[in-house]
Symmetry: D2
Amino acid sequence: MKIEVLYDYPRLEEKLIIERLKASNCEVILTNINNKPLPLGERVADVSLVRSVSMYKALYAAAVRESGGGIAVNSSYTISICGDKILTLSKIKNAGLNVPKSIIAMDVESAQAAYRALKKPFVDKPPIGSWGRLVSLVTDTVSWRSLLEHRQMLPSQQLKIHIMQDYIEVNNRDIRVIVVGGEVLGAMYRVSVGDEWRTNIALGGKPVQRRLDPVIEEVTLKAAESVKGDFISVDILEDSMGTLYVNEVNGVPEFKGFMEATGIDVASELVKFLIEVSKR
Amino acid sequence: MKIEVLYDYPRLEEKLIIERLKASNCEVILTNINNKPLPLGERVADVSLVRSVSMYKALYAAAVRESGGGIAVNSSYTISICGDKILTLSKIKNAGLNVPKSIIAMDVESAQAAYRALKKPFVDKPPIGSWGRLVSLVTDTVSWRSLLEHRQMLPSQQLKIHIMQDYIEVNNRDIRVIVVGGEVLGAMYRVSVGDEWRTNIALGGKPVQRRLDPVIEEVTLKAAESVKGDFISVDILEDSMGTLYVNEVNGVPEFKGFMEATGIDVASELVKFLIEVSKR
Amino acid sequence: MKIEVLYDYPRLEEKLIIERLKASNCEVILTNINNKPLPLGERVADVSLVRSVSMYKALYAAAVRESGGGIAVNSSYTISICGDKILTLSKIKNAGLNVPKSIIAMDVESAQAAYRALKKPFVDKPPIGSWGRLVSLVTDTVSWRSLLEHRQMLPSQQLKIHIMQDYIEVNNRDIRVIVVGGEVLGAMYRVSVGDEWRTNIALGGKPVQRRLDPVIEEVTLKAAESVKGDFISVDILEDSMGTLYVNEVNGVPEFKGFMEATGIDVASELVKFLIEVSKR
Amino acid sequence: MKIEVLYDYPRLEEKLIIERLKASNCEVILTNINNKPLPLGERVADVSLVRSVSMYKALYAAAVRESGGGIAVNSSYTISICGDKILTLSKIKNAGLNVPKSIIAMDVESAQAAYRALKKPFVDKPPIGSWGRLVSLVTDTVSWRSLLEHRQMLPSQQLKIHIMQDYIEVNNRDIRVIVVGGEVLGAMYRVSVGDEWRTNIALGGKPVQRRLDPVIEEVTLKAAESVKGDFISVDILEDSMGTLYVNEVNGVPEFKGFMEATGIDVASELVKFLIEVSKR
């Protein structure tokens, strides 16, 4: 069994995964995608785990490995869906799950029309981005115009596009659940801190263990299935009435905070899954 | 039957399609995606034809319509694959078709390594882009370094990534074939002009009718299938030995030049297909 | 006498100036800087009026003409100062005039420190930009963080830099004064409209005539002198106590609204000045 | 005597300067401009040495210190001229010195016209940039078109503008001279290495001592005067006939290689000058 790890900047997560892989009896191949050119059609392993920090590099690394007949975890399909918040919302909604009421505005004129239609405050974010970056809570016209002007000046076509969403009151926390190979590993809260409304760990959010109940488990597995995700994390918003909304899905999940909060050895579970896949 | 056309800047192609749709007995819904906000989950038609000039806007328009249970032509899946030259190559290669020998380099160091490995001249292009833009023929170290530095300064992550390909000698022309609903409509050459090596119509390439033979037909249909394309154009390179390489697939094809060269009424064929789909 | 007009996109202003020039007995040379390469050291006229919409093109056009010993109006010096709000503030402040209390923050950490030090609301803007674009009123931490993140993503080094200023209560209007060749032509109010706090004409601000008093005249002339401006407009904020603050100076001023509000034929006055300069 | 050093990323140069300053009996103030907000009008020292790696941060730091009546070395004027290759060429040319024959093209159309007029190979570079970056040698139409397309996609207005220059045959080396306070410290060659035609140290160029002769001294001092430079380096091209062309002037010069090649203690000479200025 040959298992490859494709990475760019190894974080704690990648180090743990590599450690666990080496402790198993797989042959481990480490590929730094910034140094090594990837020939289309090349096959170097049975399974290739994609772990780059850059979403696009992850997507392309998976696609190259698939072009050679290899299996990528996650697949390029899953990474392309989860790496884009509009594509994710489309799949989740189509699967019959709740998502926050969302309007997609392609340009300034449609964004202005959506602004007039939405209850304030609302959430505005571009389809691409990690760690909560550019996810904005819009409360008034003055800050909305400033946001709209700034967004228009961003150099990427995608960053000019607006996802405008109902703001769900979540009591300063959301729920993060991790799935490996069709099984839910566990759940945690991410609790926002101070005057930061976003719960992202990168923005200071605190990971806190949460009991896993059957409803959350069901929602998470449906979400995973809708994006064909092998190893993903799902972010769920729970409003004051207990209604659950799937908000985002991560196709190359970080899990340091999750490990700390839950004590679950995510890297080991992932390695078990990779070995299982490589035997198929 | 309700058929929607989603567009941003209507070209001749969009005008013809709309004319043909209006001449049929469908209800035609015109949606300017720059003006109109698109609510996730909204269903306005049986089939939605996506015709925006901007690839990302096309992708998101398709995804929104699918989120409401509608059918998009092309699907968001096809647009996401065809809108990205690495994802396209991966699917085509995986389907067993010839593609130019290609190396994907994610960063400067791997691009330099690939440069040393490749025969000159070679083709370098980023995964995203239309009309031949940024598609470069690299002949020597001096122009390679300049290209590498410029690419690094581009503001988008994707435009920093390199597809480095064998240059296929094609006698100043490539073959473009259009497919609608699993049927090949016809083929043309695009002939490059003057000292421009690229064949793109936007760069002055001349459209010239070409006989459709069974081999081209088979290659094209396999390519269409590999990206699940309903309405696409396929670009094929034919080397001096007659070997065919699939180079790119377009998910929102322009067809003005194709109509002129072949006399085929692409808009009518497309409208027939849309009506057929809306009846399913 | 040869007088050149360098332009890119001719607006009403450029058309009027050219008309007035042609009605005089000068030889008029029209140079579209987007079409015509400008050789360093070339001398085509006695005086070159720089009227491009793009600030950097205006700056470089002036510098090229000066390199050939010609006189540019405005000079490259004036355009470089007035085209940059930090350089303008520095000159104005150094000349002993009032400016809004301003802090320059080069990076996120210093911007956060300045944020803590400033009274809210305050004004945040980058050094470069016209028509009020990206000029933001910051009222609270949530919108500040969003602004800070967006600014960091802008592709230009300059747009990442923050001018953070006391917000001067101006009763929805500021004063714009135009100077030609050391003489004040007149003044107007720009009155902001609706829920837009900015007074820029491009943002809907209404031009309204204002009496020219000696204090405004003195402030304006000192401001013009501090940037060595031949033909400029000066924006002045007047607080509730009647204190005047020089806010910005424009080195390629638009004057359509000014003409409408004051009835002053700015183009004629400018042409008189250009002829006078060309006789020196 | 209070002398301030404004810096962002301290290199060897900054460390040496600070060491020498501390060894003198000045009071030394160190200001990290990324951390510390700079209030307009603040006066913290008699003289402020500006040493940030970022040209714009250097420019604005100088301007802020001048707004408080302080002296900046270099002045904001000098930094703004030397930080921009078009402004530098304009001043040098206007001072009657030789510069390579240069054409400024503001847009694609004028760049194409200049391309047709120029002898190949020629040098193409944008007005802004350090370390030789984007400085390209254009030899043929294929690489020219690629360069033109790439340049158009760069997000900054300035980087889209072309300085197109005669290529001066310099036998793989240019001459760098350093000036402090109107005195020439010494000279070196920068020798390009391998197949890299550019001589920049950052691109592998080797520093080699060069005798200082009166002609070079005179050219350098005239160049320094034309940009009012206190502490600058001047790059001079010498063609096969011995003609000297001033090519670029650096307003925040690096001098590590210069020290190695010449043995001159640039930091000490600079500190002497700063002390002298602070006594004025």
